[in-house]
Amino acid sequence: VNYEIVELEKYSGIQTTIYSVIMDQEDSTLFDEFLNKYKTDYRTELKSILSRLKEINHTTGAREQFFKHDEGKPGDGVCALYDEPDSKLRLYCIRYGKVAILLGSGGPKPPGIRAWQDDPTLAKEMEKMIEISKDITKRLQSGDIRWSKDGTQLLGNLTFSDNE
C-alpha cells in the first residue's frame, strides 16, 4: 500500500503532534474517511472524539491512560481512544508517547463481539494500522525517518510505497 504521513493542521496545539495518513489515489486522510463515513449516524460521538483530541493536543498530551492498549500486536503502539460510556465508536491510532499520535480509522463495535477480529470493518482498519506501524518502525530503525530532537515531529521521507 502506498501512503503519506501528514500532520493535521486543525490540531496545532503544543502538547501532541497529530498525524494521519493519506492513502494512494485518495485526496483525504484515513481519519477524514472515518469522519465522513460516520458523520450522519454517529455525529455526537464524533464531536466527542474531536473535542477529546483537542484537549490531548492542547492540554493533557496523549497520556497512556486515555487509550485502550494491546489492540494490535505487542509493542506496536496501536491502540484505540477510549469511548464515551454510551458510545461504541472505535477510533484506532498509533501512540508515540505523550507527544505524538497517528490517527487512523475505525468503526462501531457491534454488541456481542469480544475483539476487533470478530468484525470485518474493525479488522480491516486495525490491520491497516498494524501495517503502518510496522512500516514506521522499520524506517525509524533504518534511519530513513527519525524523531526531531524534542521528540514531537517525525522527520525524513514520510512517503511509503509497496515496492520498498
Binding site: L8, S20, S28, L46, Q65, P85, S148, G156
Partner: protein, 155 residues
C-alpha cells in the same frame, strides 16, 4: 531543507473543521474538566507509588472501574470524588488543583577552555538558561528564569 529534516506536510481537513466548530464552548469545557481531572488523578495515584490495582484495592473497586475513571470520559459524582479524596488523604478540592510544577532540566553544558587568564571571572549568562528552560515532554512544567548554573569561576 534536505530530505532528512523534512517535516510532514500539513493537511487541512474540511470535515474536521466543520465538526469541531459544532462543539460548543460548554461541551469543550466539560471534556476539558473530565480529562484534566483524570490526568490529575493518574498523577496522584502514581505519586503515591501505587498501580491501578493497588488503588482499586484501597478504594474497594475493580481495576476496570479505575481504568474507566482514568480514561478521561467518566462523569464523576461528588460521592465518588469524596471517596477518592479520602483514600488519597486530601481535600476534594485538591483533585482539581493543577499539578505542582516539576522541572526536569536535561541541558548539558560543556565548557572547554584551553588558556585562561587567571584574573578573569566567568559567569554563565542568565539569559542563556532562562530561555533554555523548556521541558519538551511536559510543556506545562516550564519555569523560566532559574539558571542551571548560577555562576562559575574558573581559575
Amino acid at each position: 531543507m534536505n530530505e532528512k529534516n523534512k517535516k510532514a506536510r500539513k493537511y487541512s481537513s474540511k470535515i474536521l473543521g466543520e465538526l469541531l466548530d459544532e462543539v460548543t464552548p460548554a461541551e469543550q469545557l466539560k471534556t476539558n474538566t473530565k480529562m484534566t481531572l483524570a490526568a490529575r488523578l493518574g498523577d496522584l495515584i502514581s505519586a503515591k507509588g501505587w498501580g491501578k490495582s493497588e488503588f482499586a484495592d484501597k478504594i474497594n473497586k475493580n481495576p476496570s472501574e479505575i481504568t474507566k475513571w482514568l480514561s478521561g470520559t467518566h462523569n464523576f459524582t461528588i460521592d465518588t470524588l469524596a471517596e477518592i479524596a479520602m483514600v488519597l488523604k486530601m481535600p476534594v478540592v485538591e483533585l482539581f488543583v493543577p499539578a505542582q510544577v516539576q522541572v526536569v532540566n536535561k541541558v548539558q553544558v560543556v565548557v572547554t577552555v584551553n588558556e585562561v587568564e587567571p584574573s578573569i571571572k566567568y559567569d554563565t549568562p542568565r539569559v542563556l538558561f532562562s530561555s533554555s528552560h523548556y521541558s519538551f515532554y511536559n510543556k506545562e512544567s516550564v519555569v523560566h528564569g532559574y539558571p542551571l548554573i548560577t555562576s562559575r569561576h574558573l581559575s
